[in-house]
């Protein structure tokens, strides 16, 4: 029976001690400790969030870099292509131009050669004519030196004419 009869003394002291403990612990321990724990977990959450954000940023930055690189590459390719085209065109043009020039030059040369030749031929012709006249004069002088020869020539010419 003693065992299950509360004693006032112990009840009294338990009450005082427990209430004091409750006040002190709630004010100076549970609150600050749990606040610290909450603050810490919040800090950790924030840090995690930030890390995630940084990672995302890094990712986007990376993508941006990639894009810029790609663009640059494309631009480079375009420039190269353009340059190549321009070069080819220039070469083509130059070739065309040189062809035309060449042709012109050849034409001019041909013309010059032609005119020169013509002139030479004409000159030659004149020379030949004068030579032939000289030769003919000499020959005529020779062949017509006697009467027989004159008569033979005249008869031969008549014969030729008859044959024609």
């Amino acid at each position: 029976m003693n065992l299950v009869t509360p004693s006032y003394g112990l009840l009294f002291w338990t009450g005082i001690t427990f209430c004091l403990l409750l006040l002190v612990l709630a004010k100076f321990v549970w609150k600050p400790v749990l606040n610290a724990v909450n603050a810490r977990s919040q800090k950790i959450d924030e840090a995690l969030l930030e890390a995630e954000k940084a990672r995302q940023e890094m990712k986007s930055l990376h993508a941006e870099n990639e894009r810029i690189l790609k663009e640059a590459r494309a631009e480079r390719d375009a420039i190269l292509k353009e340059a190549k085209e321009a070069g080819a065109k220039m070469i083509e043009e130059a070739r065309d131009k040189s062809k035309v020039e060449g042709a012109k030059l050849i034409e001019a040369a041909k013309a010059a050669i032609g005119s020169e030749r013509n002139a030479a031929i004409a000159d030659m012709k004149a020379q030949i004519a004068s030579f032939s006249v000289d030769i003919a004069e000499a020959i005529v002088k020779e062949s017509l030196a006697s009467d027989e020869k004159q008569k033979a020539l005249a008869s031969k010419m008549v014969e030729d004419i008859k044959l024609n």
Binding site: M1, N2, L3, V4
Partner: protein, 72 residues
């Protein structure tokens, strides 16, 4: 006193018997539950301990009444 003591002991024994059966059933069912659904083991454990404690409370009530008989 001697006689009271023996009767109280029988009472305490009976209380223990009932509580033992009850807690045994709880434990068995909890193990079964955990075996079927291992993910819920935490919740089952908590519920098991609380249910066992409630039964134990009743059993101890019997023991205390037995003690009262023994001391009175």
């Amino acid at each position: 006193m001697a006689v009271f003591g023996s009767v109280a002991a029988i009472g305490a024994g009976l209380a223990v018997l009932g509580a033992g059966m009850g807690i045994g059933r709880i434990g068995g069912s909890a193990v079964e539950g955990i075996a079927r659904n291992p993910e819920a083991s935490g919740k089952i454990q908590t519920a098991m301990i609380i249910a066992a404690a409630l039964i134990e409370g009743v059993a101890l009530f019997g023991v205390v009444v037995g003690m009262l008989g023994a001391n009175g």
